[in-house]
Amino acid sequence: MIPKALMAASTKPIILTILKSGEDYGYNIIQRVKEMSGGTLDWSDGMLYPVLQRLEKENLIASQWIVSEEGRHRKYYKITKAGREALVREMAQWQSMIKALNLIWKPLPGTE
């Protein structure tokens, strides 16, 4: 079980990463997160939308309503240029965080 705060911090890079590979709508984004993380990242579905709204306000993503073939209204999101830059920064930050954690957790000599 991943705590709420950590989950909330990671939504931004995850969503940006998914949208980097192409535009998509909310329901599908969730399904893909669940799929790709092997079920580790299990969000309450509704909580995705406030995050999307926030990212859009920060101009990291953009959206448009599209009517599907079966007539359903769907809001598609795509990543912006600012979004790509933000993702690069996020990735660097997370990488250094992971590196730092690995260094700290490196097994000490003589112990497992």
Binding site: S44, D45, G46, M47, Q53, R72, K75
Partner: protein
């Protein structure tokens, strides 16, 4: 049939409450919901199941809305509009304003509430004071946890006393016991210093360890009992005899012959000690004076032991009996008694046996706590009744509050706040009442409470009681009122649906709850009235059965100093006064017992009469005539029969019947193997407490009054209609003519007899006070209810009158219900009171009956009071001019 379209639109509507969810967001969530729905359908679920799962997957709308809101908020503390604010000063102010406004507008009802609550709280407070005090006894001893009292549990009753040799044996032979103290009560003696002499009642004889084991601090001197002629005085006693002089080393004279050197001054014994005393003399002195039997068979001392911190009580008890057995204590050998121990802090509330120092009893503590609860309950019921009855007045306000967004918890908080406010308002009133009642309360209970006591930690319990009462009284009205539905309230379709559903709600709706509560109040009040009357009846019976002269008074004067030796001179001098009819002597006060014995024998005494105990009484020849006791057969003692001193016995009727004697006069009788003859039979006369059966008594004459009358009294019969002060002056003159140092003292015998029933009289007074309060508070509540009903039915009454109803009919309409409730309350209270009072009367040998007139009296008086209360309001309503009430329609 499940309608997906409708379900979705309902779901969307529920989302609208959360304002941060804009239309776009809702549309997006809807599309998500439908996608999830399709996926669930794909798994083969029905429409309904799939929809439920999809809704669950989207998550709680409140949380989603909250997340959206976080994005749009401006301040970190902002709260979404659909949540009530954490705290809003304006609202609080409004609550306060509304509360005060309601208070003012309904001043009468509010006053009844405040007054009722104040009385209830004052009562509870007094009783809390008392209960706490009772529970706090004997807590001041540093070694208190390790101190026990040795007691004897016997076949024929328990005894708080134990034999003198037990204490040294126990210390020597039981390793767990590190110290022991024996204490004996010294009978009243005259203490004298130079010209000053007083009678002292509260002396003890004790082992020197008493000051080490117990925490009675010595202020001066070392209190060492290195010689038997020592005494330790309390500070106030020292002041009485020596003023501001240093008493250490000075000598007091006891009974004019025993010198006692002051070895120490101790602080006055705290009030909360189960035994209190003004002076201590060494036990060795009492032993030297041969005051008490000191053998293993003489149970004459209270023995306290101090145990090691690590010990087992059961082990101590086992060893205690072993020691007694090894020393051949006769009672233990014959299995008449076993020794046990009692913790120091338990002693006060658990008296052992009939000879224990007058203590308290756990029963009274429970009993009065219970009464306090009842009185508080009655006051609380008033509050509930009046608040709910007036709900209608508040319904529109509550409806409006709800319409503009108040949720239930806010309304509950508002009404809790109001009840707390009322309680706080009644608090100072309650305090004032306590202040007024305290002196009387102290007199009743024999305590010394003062309001200063309240200022300390009691302030906390006071605030505790107040808020508890406020919350308890407020919880029901708060839940009741907050349940009002705005639509119904504003539309005016009351009575509305209230808390809960079904039966309970129905009851509340029809005012049944209110009726139940009124009945409960009156049940309590009537029970207390019956109890008051029953106690009063018993006290009257005691007065009737107790011996007394029709008109003459008996004055009792102790036989002290020279009176015993010069009794004939004393008597002759007294009789010179024309108002003194006769003078007699007895070995102790008639209310006391000097000696009991099984050592009596007569012709034909059977085996099972061997346990028959008779009270032996030494008197002079004038006793029966002075006391007005009739000789039923034979004769009384007389100087004309010089042999009477050695061989004459007079039995009372009880003794004759218990001994099974026929034609007893002239038959042989022996007391302690002293053979003699029964010369007469005297009528039964009860002087002692009626908690025990009248004893068989055998009277015999003093042989040498000087040595046999240590506790003796002279009984002086004064003719009726004389100036008592002059007679007493005469007696005083005779006294001082014969005595040199002993202070003169007198009592009236009838007062001494009555004094034995002090606790019963106190109980009667307390019952009366509680009954009065219970009735008072109940009637206050009733007054409020009736006033309210009359007001509510103003128009109905107007129409009825306009159509020709008479005043009595209207009265009937308004009062009947409450009178029926009081009658019902009578029906419930009578059996409860009967059972309770029967149990109380069990303690007496002679019991007053609980007759029908008692119930009728209590029932009728409760009814009359209720009628008076109800009637006043009802008459006002019934006599009102219908034009006034109908005019504005």
């Amino acid at each position: 049939m499940f309608d997906l379209k409708k379900a979705v639109s309902d779901w969307k509507r529920s989302l609208r409450k959360y304002e941060s969810l804009e239309d776009g967001a809702i549309a997006e969530l809807e599309s998500h919901l439908l996608d999830e729905f399709d996926r669930q359908k794909g798994k083969g679920l029905s429409d309904e199941e799939a929809f439920t799962k999809a809704v669950a997957a989207v998550g709680r709308p409140e949380e989603v809305g909250g997340e959206y809101f976080k994005d749009s908020r401006r301040s970190a503390l902002a709260v979404p509009s659909w949540k009530r604010s954490r705290f809003s000063p304006a609202l609080l102010l409004n609550f306060l304003k509304v509360a005060l406004r309601t208070f003012r507008r309904q001043a009468g009802y509010s006053l009844i509430n405040v007054l009722g609550l104040a009385i209830g709280m004052a009562c509870s407070l007094l009783i809390v004071l008392w209960v706490r005090d009772e529970l706090d006894f004997d807590r001041f001893h540093r070694n208190g946890k390790d101190i026990y009292r040795v007691i004897a549990l016997g076949k024929q009753g328990n005894d708080c006393n134990s034999p003198a040799p037990l204490a040294p044996a126990v210390v020597a032979e039981i390793p767990e016991v590190i110290a022991a103290v024996r204490i004996g009560n010294v009978p009243r003696v005259v203490l004298q210093y130079e010209k000053q002499a007083f009678y002292e009642d509260n002396g003890i004889a004790a082992d020197p360890t008493v000051f080490r084991m117990f925490s009675f601090p010595l202020l001066r001197g070392d209190g060492s009992f290195d010689a038997p002629d020592r005494i330790v005085l309390s500070a106030s006693l020292a002041r009485k005899y020596f003023g501001n002089d240093d008493p250490i080393g000075k000598t007091l004279l006891a009974e004019g012959r025993v010198p006692l050197k002051v070895a120490g001054v101790m602080a006055d014994v705290p009030r909360q000690s189960h035994f209190r005393f003004d002076y201590v003399i060494p036990l060795k002195l009492a032993e030297a004076l041969d005051m008490w039997g000191m053998q293993w068979g003489d149970f004459n001392f209270r023995t306290y032991i101090q145990a090691r911190p690590q010990r087992s009580e059961a082990e101590i008890i086992r060893k205690l009996n072993q020691v007694a057995l090894a020393h051949r204590c006769p009672q233990v050998i014959h299995k008449m008694a076993v020794f046990s121990i009692q913790r120091l802090r338990d002693i006060y509330l658990h008296p052992i046996g009939p000879y224990d120092i007058p203590l308290s009893s756990k029963t009274y503590v429970y009993f009065f706590s219970f009464i306090a609860l009842l009185i508080a309950l009655i006051a609380g019921i008033n509050f509930i009744n009046l608040s709910t009855a007036r709900a209608e007045k508040r319904a529109k306000e509550i409806g409006l509050r709800k319409v503009i967004g108040a949720d239930r918890s806010q309304i509950v908080a508002q009404f809790f706040g109001e009840s707390l406010l009322i309680t706080l308002l009644s608090l100072p009133l309650a305090l004032a009442m306590v202040g007024i009642a305290l002196p009387h309360f102290n007199e009743l209970t024999g305590k010394e409470f003062s309001l200063r006591l309240l200022s300390s930690d009691l302030a906390v319990s006071l605030a505790g009681i107040a808020s508890l009462v406020g919350l308890l009284a407020g919880v029901f009205p708060a839940l009741y009122l907050s349940a009002i539905q705005p639509a119904q309230a504003v539309r005016g379709t009351l009575p509305f649906r209230l808390i809960g559903k079904g039966q309970a709600a129905g009851w509340v709706k029809h005012g049944a709850l209110r009726r139940i509560l009124v009945t409960l109040q009156f049940t309590i009040a009537i029970t207390l009235i019956v109890a008051t009357l029953a106690v009063g009846g018993q006290l009257r019976l005691i007065q009737e059965k107790s011996w007394r002269l029709d008109r003459d008074q008996i004055l009792t004067v102790p036989i002290k100093e020279n009176i015993g030796r010069q009794y004939d001179l004393f008597r002759g001098e007294l009789l010179k006064h024309p108002a003194i009819a006769n003078v007699a002597a007895k070995d102790c006060l008639p209310t006391e017992v000097e000696n009991n014995t099984t050592g009596v024998s007569w012709e034909g005494k059977t085996e099972d009469q061997n346990t028959l105990v008779m009270e032996t009484i030494r008197v002079d020849e004038n006793y029966f005539s002075t006391m007005g006791m009739e000789i039923v057969a034979g004769r009384g003692f007389s100087k004309a029969f010089p042999g009477d001193k050695e061989t004459a016995y007079v039995l009372n009727e009880q003794a004759v019947s218990k001994a099974g004697l026929q034609d007893a006069v002239g038959k042989p009788f022996a007391l302690y193997r002293q053979r003699g003859t029964i010369v007469g039979i005297v009528q039964n006369a009860i002087f002692q407490t009626m908690r025990q059966e009248l004893r068989p008594q055998v009277f015999h004459l003093f042989r040498d009054m000087a040595t046999e009358s240590f506790k003796g009294v002279a009984l002086i019969r004064i003719k009726a209609g004389q100036r008592l002060a002059a007679v007493i002056d005469h007696v005083r003159g005779v006294w001082h003519g014969i005595n040199a140092y002993a202070p003169f003292e007198f009592h009236f015998l009838d007062q001494q007899i009555d004094a034995q029933y002090g606790s019963e009289r106190r109980l009667g007074k307390l019952f009366a006070a509680f009954a009065l309060l219970a009735i008072l508070i109940s009637c206050l509540g009733l007054l409020g209810l009736v006033a309210f009903t009359a007001e509510q039915r103003t128009k109905e009454i107007g129409i009825r009158k306009a159509l020709g109803a008479s005043v009595p009919r209207i009265l009937n309409l308004l009062c009947r219900e409450y009178l029926l409730l009081v009658i019902l309350a009578n029906g419930i209270a009578w059996p409860i009171a009967t059972i309770a009072m029967r149990r109380w009367l069990q303690g007496f040998v002679y019991r007053a009956s609980i007759g029908a007139e008692l119930f009728l009296l209590s029932g009728l008086s409760a009814m009359a009071i209720a009628l008076l209360t109800v009637g006043f309001q009802a008459i006002r309503a019934a006599r009102a001019n219908p034009v006034d009430s109908l005019r504005y329609e």
